[in-house]
């Protein structure tokens, strides 16, 4: 696996800007961390279910009802007619 390529690919997908020095540093550090994580390969987990929570969480559903709230735009600086104003989705021709 080319770690530097993976770092560049994930950074682009996650919209995390990295300069050349960061790409170099993170590639080296991620290589070290992933090598440590690889030690889990030696743990036998056949037939062991995954734990996505540490305790049993009983399923709970709430009614799918719209409730009034000002929170979604309460901290936004650019709001027009109750809508957030963001940048263009794509370049204009």
């Amino acid at each position: 696996m080319d770690i530097r390529k993976e770092v560049e690919r994930i950074a682009a997908a996650q919209r995390v800007p990295l300069n050349d020095e960061e790409k170099e540093t993170f590639s080296r550090q991620l290589g070290q961390v992933l090598a440590a994580f690889d030690k889990l390969d030696q743990v036998r987990t056949e037939g062991v279910p995954p734990a996505y929570h540490p305790v049993d969480i009983p399923p709970q559903l709430r009614k799918d009802e719209i409730e009034p709230s000002s929170a979604p735009v309460g901290n936004a600086r650019r709001v027009e007619k109750g809508y957030l104003k963001g940048p263009r989705m794509m370049k204009t021709a």
Partner: protein, 433 residues
């Protein structure tokens, strides 16, 4: 009013001396009548308090002022407690020494040393002023700073306290807890904050309580990982427990190192999805949208505000759940987590509590932390991670000093057996006096 003025002055002085506060209000709000009236609390900056800025240690949330209060904090306020301000922390809780942020707290016992993280500001405020704090732990963020600063830190069972209003790090690991000078006071806050909440579907009704059997087990591997002074302080505390009539045995935990790797994979995977919501439109960093050609340009510029540790965890966490690697890393870690939970709960059928050092060392100097690689940094959590990964209640209780710095004994009990942790904590505390 004099009380309030004195308290604010104490908080400001602690902040001036040790850089522990993210926000201190100009004046304190009037408290309600209730059993906690006259109790003043600091609140970690990843918990929302209506009208107080909440930045969670990250520049990306600069300027955010929540229009609501976290359930845990509002329950304290309903009982009469007053919030004195917000305490500094590692960005989003990403750290063991509280150095991954824009304002780094200093240890009141030696200002050349770290306070511990990620709830460093809370531990410093409690150590410097005696005021209790509402804190939060994901993998050890309460025990670590509590041990380093010589205060009591309590992390309850996962689900005991609602996470509504918490700026999340890793949803399956985050637990709101407390810090105080005494075990009784720290558990008093836990009791007041606990209970199911319709706003958090992972908040739970507690399981039935067990009685104390006076049987405890020291986790040998974790004791061996501690530096000599910390080990001696732990063994001295354990001997005193034995003198009080507790039968103590030594046990081995097969999965301590595996727990560390499983924890970091799960925590980073969850963190990388949580951090995806910071797009610079609704809160925190917001730029002028008309100055950008596309949404992607805007989003990328805003996310350039993340610090190095935030970027590192986004990269690692995203990688661990990418197609082709998810089975090897994330799914594997979730299965190892099951083994860790089973192993610890099995031991807790035989013993009231598991005992271990809260941290393997005393608070390190800032100059030494700079030399640590990320992997060495993560490895410092080896004592705190197993209980956090398993969601088990635990407390770090001060047990004396090593090299002139505080150390802590970590006491871990079965799910929802906070009363047993409290019992042992009070025994350890009483024997130190």
């Amino acid at each position: 009013m004099t009380d309030q003025t004195d308290v604010l002055e104490k908080v400001r002085r602690a902040d001036a001396d040790y850089a522990c506060m993210a926000y201190v209000p100009d004046a304190l709000s009037e408290s309600k009548n209730g059993p906690l009236r006259g109790v003043f609390v600091g609140v970690k900056d990843n918990l929302c308090v209506d009208g107080m800025p909440a930045q969670a240690g990250s520049r990306i949330l600069e300027g955010y002022v929540p229009p609501f209060t976290a359930t845990a904090v509002s329950r304290l306020q309903l009982e009469g407690a007053t919030v004195v301000g917000k305490t500094v922390m590692d960005a989003f809780g990403f750290g063991t020494f509280n150095v991954n942020t824009y304002k780094i707290p200093k240890n009141p016992h030696d200002v050349s040393r770290a306070a511990g993280g990620s709830s460093g500001g809370s531990a410093v405020l409690t150590a410097a002023t005696g005021l209790p704090c509402v804190s939060e732990s994901t993998g050890g963020s309460i025990s670590a700073p509590a041990a380093f600063c010589g205060v009591v830190g309590v992390t309850p069972t996962y689900g005991k306290i609602s996470r509504y209003g918490l700026i999340d790090y890793a949803n399956s690991l985050d637990k709101i807890g407390s810090m105080a000078l005494t075990v009784r006071e720290a558990f008093g806050l836990i009791d007041a904050m606990a209970g199911p909440d319709a706003k958090d579907m992972t908040s739970l009704v507690p399981a039935p309580k067990k009685s104390v059997q006076k049987k405890a087990a020291v986790v040998t591997e974790l004791l061996e990982k501690a530096e000599p002074g910390v080990r001696q302080a732990c063994m001295a505390a354990v001997e005193k427990l034995q003198e009080s009539g507790v039968a103590v045995e030594h046990v081995r935990l097969e999965h301590t190192e595996n727990a560390l790797y499983a924890y970091y994979i799960i925590a980073m995977a969850e963190a990388s999805t949580n951090l995806a919501k910071y797009v610079g439109l609704r809160y925190g960093q917001q730029l002028a949208p008309e100055e950008f050609e596309t949404y992607t340009d805007y989003f990328t510029r805003v996310r350039g505000t993340f610090g190095p540790e935030e970027k590192r965890r986004i990269l690692l966490g995203s990688f661990a759940r990418t197609a082709g690697y998810r089975g090897k890393y994330y799914d594997k870690a979730a299965r190892v987590r099951t083994l860790v939970i089973r192993e610890m709960k099995s031991l807790l059928q035989r013993y009231d509590v598991l005992l271990m050092p809260s941290m393997p060392c005393v608070a390190p100097r800032f100059s030494d932390i700079e030399k640590l690689s990320p992997l060495e940094h993560y490895a410092m959590d080896v004592c705190t991670v197993p209980a956090n990964l398993a969601g088990l209640p635990h407390a770090s209780v001060p047990i004396g000093k090593s090299d002139g710095m505080p150390t802590g004994l970590q006491i871990v009990a079965d799910h929802f057996q906070e009363d047993i942790v409290k019992h042992y904590g009070q025994v350890v505390e009483a024997q130190r006096k």
